[in-house]
Symmetry: C2
Subunit: 90 residues, 2 copies
């Protein structure tokens, strides 16, 4: 068994209005930071997963996303998996 | 002026207890998904920035992070900037 690190980005689908992003965009403009647009806010989830190989690790993480971490109706998920570097901080 | 897309990940520093991550980890274990650990939850922010070059775009985004998007005392920020693909959806 090896330890893999998964980096998951859960973001609202493009078609859905992101009110939080809109609020942040307005706040940026209030701070005189113009030139920024289309702010979208999502979640970033990082976790370690113990699996025999990278494909099993990916399918475990996909199952976790489908069951708990994301709403497949409203949200898109991007998953990056890499073997955990030896000596990396836990 | 060109349009760049910035992808920003704001996460709690390693030394700080991530209670939200801990709760998600416990929920995963309750769903009989063992083998997952060290869950950390952060924010993912995506925005378009108008700038003459990529260095100016990066410094604008760094300023936005310092002023509004992140708490530099408790959070780490990772910024990826790329030129926006022509024809990409807004």
């Amino acid at each position: 068994m090896k330890t893999y690190t998964a980096s998951i980005i859960v973001s609202l689908r493009r078609a859905i209005l992101d009110v939080q992003g809109k609020a942040v965009e307005n706040a940026l403009h209030s701070l005189h930071m113009q030139g920024m647009a289309n702010v979208r806010i999502g979640k970033h989830i990082e976790l370690d997963v113990l699996a025999p190989d990278i494909d099993t690790a990916r399918s475990t993480v996909e199952e976790a996303c489908a069951k708990l971490l994301a709403n497949p109706v409203m949200e898109d998920v991007r998953i990056d998996i890499a073997e955990k570097a030896v000596g990396a901080s836990a």
